[in-house]
Symmetry: C2
Subunit: 149 residues, 2 copies
DNA sequence: TTAAAATAGATGCAGATGCATGAAAATACA
DNA sequence: TGTATTTTCATGCATCTGCATCTATTTTAA
């Protein structure tokens, strides 16, 4: 059933697709396991805090975070809710837009980034990077870029 | 902070890692949206039914499904529970192992595979394969293989 | 053979996600 | 200007996932 129509693709488009999902999922779960084992929150927390640090004190709108992280709107809303609850970020009314809010990184959030970083980097190094040399990583990076929106 | 230690990697291991997660997640969600729009269940259902069809009438143990799909044990257990509830599979006691069960594909499950397949293939073609030529797909396939367990 | 360890699977509970929808403000445009 | 549309964010509800743990059975090994 798989590959009987216009089988012009190598080795089979569906195989390649399945491998993308399996391999990225497997590596992600191994990295998450390592972080959890050290008592850290999920990677999504790190990613949001990192985006905020890149914003460099200016603060971000949830809608910006949503676009940068490719997350659903309600997902961002609740992730921020948890980050506020854990005192890693502040949420204030947006000064120039009555509908919106602005999210700011707190020192506690910055500290969490600092503490997570070495564990995170080590995990990605071991579970991901160790399997590829520089040239392979570069090629992978370029190919994956073609899949981005 | 990102890339200050032994920056021998291109362009940055963390960038490559992030792109793997972003791109695979983005493509997956677009494919799932298409399936849902046609009224179909999540991809995980399809994947289990497909594994069962590949088993060709013999049936599979949940533990086999777990290993093939790289899912957590409780996740498989509950996915099967839903598939049984929806009458897509049967669950019987394993004849040779009193602890276990055997899962069998029912005709209704086979029919679901048939109905989902064209939509699924079209979605993967559009959201994934259309962005890569054959050679690129082959290269990607090989690189991703290095990340598998 | 019998006790300890490992394996297969289920499940209660808490937390997270997806969906649909709501409220409030901004923008478009007639 | 005034109304319709769009944008921003929150939330009730159902479903799904993760964790820890439980039972039952099989395997190991003393």
């Amino acid at each position: 059933m798989t590959g009987n129509l216009k089988d012009r693709h190598f080795p089979d488009v569906m195989e390649c697709w399945a491998r993308l999902q399996r391999s990225s999922g497997a590596v992600l779960s191994r990295v998450e396991v390592r972080l959890k084992a050290e008592g850290f929150p999920p990677l999504g927390w790190y990613d949001v805090l990192l985006e905020l640090r890149r914003a460099d004190g200016v603060g971000l709108r949830p809608v910006d975070i949503e676009k940068r992280m490719l997350l659903a709107q309600y997902n961002v809303s609740r992730l921020i809710e948890r980050l506020v609850g854990a005192s890693y970020v502040d949420k204030r009314r947006a000064p120039d837009d009555g509908r919106g809010v602005m999210i700011f990184l707190r020192p506690e959030g910055e500290a969490l980034l600092e503490r997570m970083w070495p564990v995170y980097r080590e995990a990605v190094e071991t579970e991901f990077a160790a399997h590829l040399d520089d040239e392979e990583a570069e090629t992978l990076w370029k190919l994956l870029g073609k899949l981005l929106p």
